[in-house]
């Protein structure tokens, strides 16, 4: 969908980089399960995504301390508890110990966006996915995603339109799981 223009030597804090990264995020959400590349951003996929989406208008929870203080300053977000924040960044290897906000019937968009850091995307246990954005079914292989996230997510998205939306990322790649995506876990 987008030409993979090399972002090397451009900063994730600059407009043109953020526009290109956003187009990849857009593709990730429009076509869930698709793997998108952030390796050319010059930093971790996690930080590249946060820099692209966040600013002083939203709040961020970082319960596992994944963001360096100087990056936190540049993001300009206010801090919030994981139960209230619009954005939460978390270590996917650890089981979730909070319930993110799922929005309300009148305002489901306040359901949180979770950025889960996994060990590796593209290898590991395959998730079988179906739903909007997926022609029939698609596979996403993930390594380092604690199974509790999948179980809890099923609860969080069970009362559509309420729900949470997830971005999975490793050091270099990312994929998105909107609340509308159904995960049919493959038997190992």
């Amino acid at each position: 969908m987008t030409a993979m223009t090399d972002l090397t030597a451009l900063s994730i804090w600059q407009a043109h980089t953020q526009q290109r990264l956003f187009r990849r995020l857009l593709e990730a959400f429009a076509y869930p399960g698709r793997l998108l590349d952030a390796a050319d951003s010059g930093t971790t996929a996690r930080l590249a995504i946060l820099a692209t989406l966040l600013d002083g208008e939203v709040d961020l929870a970082d319960p596992h301390g994944l963001i360096a203080p100087e990056d936190g300053l540049r993001l300009m977000t206010s801090a919030a508890a994981p139960e209230q924040a619009r954005f939460v960044v978390a270590d996917a290897a650890r089981a979730p110990d909070f319930t993110p906000t799922q929005g309300s019937l009148e305002s489901p968009e306040f359901g949180a966006t979770l950025l889960l850091e996994v060990e590796q995307l593209g290898t590991g246990s395959p998730l079988l996915l179906t739903g909007p954005g997926i022609a029939a079914q698609t596979r996403l292989a993930v390594q380092g995603l604690h199974p509790e996230w999948i179980a809890r997510r099923a609860d969080w998205v069970s009362a559509y339109p309420l729900g949470v939306d997830i971005i999975l990322c490793d050091a270099t790649h990312f994929a998105a799981l909107p609340r509308t995506t159904q995960i049919i876990r493959e038997a190992l």
Binding site: A30, P132, A135, T180
Partner: protein, 295 residues
Amino acid sequence: MNNTYELPLDEAGYAFGFMDEYAKKEVRRAILKAICIPGYQTPYASREMPMGRGFGTGGLQLTLSLVGADDTLKVIDQGSDDSVNAVNLRQFVQMTCPGVEVTEKTEAATLIQSRHRIPEKPLTEAQILVLQVPYPDALVVVEPSEARRKTMHGEADYSRLLVKLYEDIVKFDEITISHRYPTRIHGHYIIDPSPIPRWDVPKLHQSKALILLGAGREKKIYAVPPYTLAEPLAFEDVVFSVEDFRDALGNRRTCSRCGAADSFLDEFSDETGKKIYQCSDSAYCNERLASEKTA
């Protein structure tokens, strides 16, 4: 009053894409949530643009938040690249987004902004369609209060809308909604698909391309993701139907310019008062003409 103040006479330096980066970020966040909640009208702060509310500022804010120097942009209004409003918008994007290519060919575009039509040629996964929306809410015809409408949408309570359609049928033996046909997305939210004709509604269903809808004045962004259910409202005995382009003898009218029998036709009268029918989609028409010449 500062008597020493002097107006800067040099051109105001606008950022790439005219909007400031924070405005774009807000739009981008709204776009992602809109995709996650298909058909839901996601509120956003909606900046003023140099063209009037009602002239496509919602679509424009989407385009300006999406577009980059890698893009090839097509802008149409009523299906035509040359309609005055399309020309105005396209020139504005060219002025504020140096490096962006523009095209009239549907298949060459990566980003298409359109008012009131979806191109005849099916879109691909490499394309994004942005539709300009005056009224984002299909329920506005039965409920003026936005707060009450939000509750109805959340609960997917569309009974009053269905009653209105039923009353139409009782009165006229037809569903009289022409454009802005209420369409249910992903089995929940019913959207106003913007003033596209019924002819274009089937293109929303299982589209390969992402479709984004922007209402600038009403400050809403919503989406029909690719490969998603988009079902126009109908009843078992009164099905959804598109516009009828048959003449009195039952023959399907064709475009007087390129001969197409499968496109939405504009109807107008020439100087002698004779009725003329032509493809609304000018690029489609031009392409057919060009291939006829080479054939």
